[in-house]
């Protein structure tokens, strides 16, 4: 009895330590954005905000500096489209991978696993060249195309895991009722795996939203560049002079991601760990 109380307390102490380690930087981020410059730049940092101000957020959303609203729209457009495309392909090919044991399916699995490693610097230069050749530099189209490298292999992989959890009898029943293969997929299988599908699309949105390397090389104009590139540029140009505005922009950019993640984490974690265990 005594031991279990000691054990319980120590469990919670370790948990508290872990949460402090994980969340302290975020707490400090939010805390800082609510302070005026005079408090922010004090040589002895303090958590107490004595004169709360929204000026940093006003600056971030206003049009004096970064044009953040415009960049947010760019990111939303590119990532929304990425989510849609990823969802469609993950659905179709994930279903194929889960249910149709065609000759060569093993090779497809190997390709998909390898594709998850063929990222970023390894393929950047040809992508840049292709984008320039088709005059797609500085467009959202090229971003959607290249974000697929981040989202499609992993999306198909996780989605096939979801389809595998559905019983085979469903298709047999649909076939007896005279439904064709496409109809079975569209009217029986997809509705049943909808939570997984939505999670994957939203995960694709997050991956695109968080991308920095691809949008850095492929976009630079205000009509296409994403929030990440915009904020990184701002950091370079006026970093140490306007920490408040910069950090407030950061909060605005992280917030939607955390909200989306809270919705999908259950399904996403299930899908990711299932794939991981199978290897």
């Amino acid at each position: 009895m005594k031991e279990s109380i000691v054990r319980k307390t120590s469990n919670y102490l370790w948990l508290a330590l872990l949460m402090v380690f994980t969340l302290l930087p975020f707490a400090w981020l939010i805390d800082t954005t609510l302070k005026p410059d005079s408090e922010m730049f004090s040589t002895v940092p303090t958590w107490i905000v004595s004169s709360l101000t929204w000026d940093n957020y006003r600056w971030a959303l206003g049009d004096t500096g970064l044009q953040l609203p415009r960049l947010l729209l760019n990111s939303i457009a590119a990532c929304g489209m990425t989510a849609l495309v990823t969802g469609v392909i993950a659905c179709i090919s994930g279903y194929g991978l889960a249910r149709y044991k065609v000759p060569g399916a093993g090779l497809v699995v190997v390709l998909i696993v390898l594709a998850q490693m063929i990222q970023g610097p390894l393929i950047m230069i040809p992508w840049y060249k292709m984008a320039a050749a088709f005059s797609l530099l500085n467009t959202k189209t090229i971003l959607v195309m290249i974000y697929g490298t981040l989202t499609i292999p992993v999306g198909v992989w996780i989605m096939s895991g979801f389809f595998r959890t559905l019983p085979n009898e469903l298709e047999e029943a649909a076939a007896i009722d005279g439904a064709g293969k496409w109809r079975t997929l569209l009217t029986v299988m997809i509705p049943l795996s909808l939570p997984g599908l939505v999670s994957i699309s939203l995960y694709a949105f997050i991956l695109g939203w968080n991308d920095y390397q691809y949008s850095l090389i492929l976009t630079s104009s205000i009509s296409a560049k994403t929030v990440q590139v915009g904020i990184a540029e701002l950091m370079e140009s006026m970093g140490s002079t306007n920490w408040g505005g910069l950090l407030a922009s950061g909060v605005i950019v992280i917030l939607p991601i955390v909200v989306i993640f809270a919705f999908i984490q259950k399904y996403l974690i299930e899908g990711m760990t299932a794939g991981g265990v199978k290897g």
Binding site: L15, L18, M19, F21, T22, P25, W28, L29, M40, F41, T43, P45, V88, I89, I92, S93, G96, R99, Y100, V102, P103, A105, V108, L111, A115, M117, I118, Q119, G120, P121, L122, I123, I125, P126, W127, Y128, K129, M145, T149, P153, N210, Y212, Q213, L216, I217, Q228, I231, A232, M235, W243, L247, V253, I257, F261, A262, I269, M272, T273, G276, V277
Partner: protein, 314 residues
């Protein structure tokens, strides 16, 4: 029997083949249609660019020299390996970066997984919160940590001074000696949740009875961990370690966001060096050679890893 076959053979192969093909299509056609989108995408947009990177590495191809593209054999490689004084230090930096962040991530992730595996209230919530660094955009994370590491107003210096570990402020990201520990800490903080998640799924597979039995037999918590939990986690640790090595090898975003590879080239790794060469100096041939070399090195690294740790897995 054999006569019959002889008689039929001249007339039928074509028909038979067509029949077989249509039966094959009927059986598997739909499956191939379903797989086509992902296969076409990854072949056209990932495997082809990879091959193109290797091809370009053999060319003298600089966008600002105005010379256009010309075949150069192994010139780019020779230049990098023999004449570039930065290359080898950048190569060592890459190893430090990959091994350091992987080891540190595991060092945090394993205890974190044990904590989150315990019966605690609101476990789902804590697990979700633990994942937040992992889903946050790397640029913003870079800015937040830059602010924390700031030499004048940073929280990090403040706490270390309060604990008596340092007596003077340190400019963490501007000091050649301290920049690496700072980078690795941030990278571990951002990357450990994914590994924790995998460890948690590995822990779920370990039978509680076995641990209880060991407990009855008087094994201490540490013995139980080392003798039972750790060996059972081995397969998933192996797979996760592999993923972590490859993904930290191919990512340059974290370093770029925190230090741009500086001061000087002191925190440059191969991917950031590739970026500098290709998109700052626009020498695409040289950039491709760095990409190809870094690919070859990661393959060797994975091979060594598999030989060292993959052997004792069943």
């Amino acid at each position: 029997m054999s006569d019959l076959l002889e008689l039929r053979r001249p007339s039928s192969p074509l028909i038979r083949r067509r029949g077989r093909a249509s039966a094959f299509l009927k059986e598997f056609g739909f499956g191939y249609v379903l797989l086509a989108p992902v296969v076409l995408y990854i072949v056209a947009f990932q495997f082809y660019p990879l091959a193109e990177t290797i091809r370009l590495s053999l060319f003298d191809y600089s966008l600002i020299s105005g010379r256009g593209m010309s075949f150069n054999g192994f010139g780019n490689y020779k230049e990098l390996l023999l004449n570039d004084s930065n290359f080898w230090s950048i190569f060592w930096n890459s190893l430090v970066w990959v091994l350091g962040s992987t080891v540190l991530q595991f060092a945090i992730a394993i205890p974190a997984a044990l904590v989150l595996f315990n019966k605690i209230r609101l476990r789902g919530l804590w697990r979700g919160l633990m994942m937040v660094p992992w889903v946050s955009p790397v640029v913003i994370i870079g800015i937040v940590w830059k602010w924390i590491y700031d030499g004048h107003y940073g929280l990090f210096n403040h706490y270390l001074k309060a604990l008596g570990i340092i007596s003077e402020n340190i400019v963490w990201l501007g000091d050649e000696k301290w920049v690496w520990p700072a980078l690795l800490l941030t990278s571990a903080w951002k990357g450990f949740p994914y590994i924790t998640l995998m460890m948690l799924s590995g822990l779920t597979g370990i039978s509680r009875e076995m641990i209880e039995a060991a407990h009855m037999d008087g094994a201490s918590a540490w013995q139980r961990f080392v003798r039972i939990t750790l060996p059972m986690l081995k397969p998933i640790m192996y797979a996760t370690g592999l993923v972590s090595i490859v993904s930290s090898w191919t990512k340059f975003e974290m370093i770029w966001a925190l230090t741009n590879g500086g001061p000087g080239y002191s925190t440059s790794i191969l991917p950031t060096y590739l970026y500098t060469n290709s998109f700052v100096y626009f020498d695409l041939g040289r950039g491709s050679a760095i990409a190809t070399l870094s690919m070859a090195i990661v393959l060797i690294l994975v091979g060594v890893y598999a030989r060292t740790f993959g052997r004792n897995l069943e």
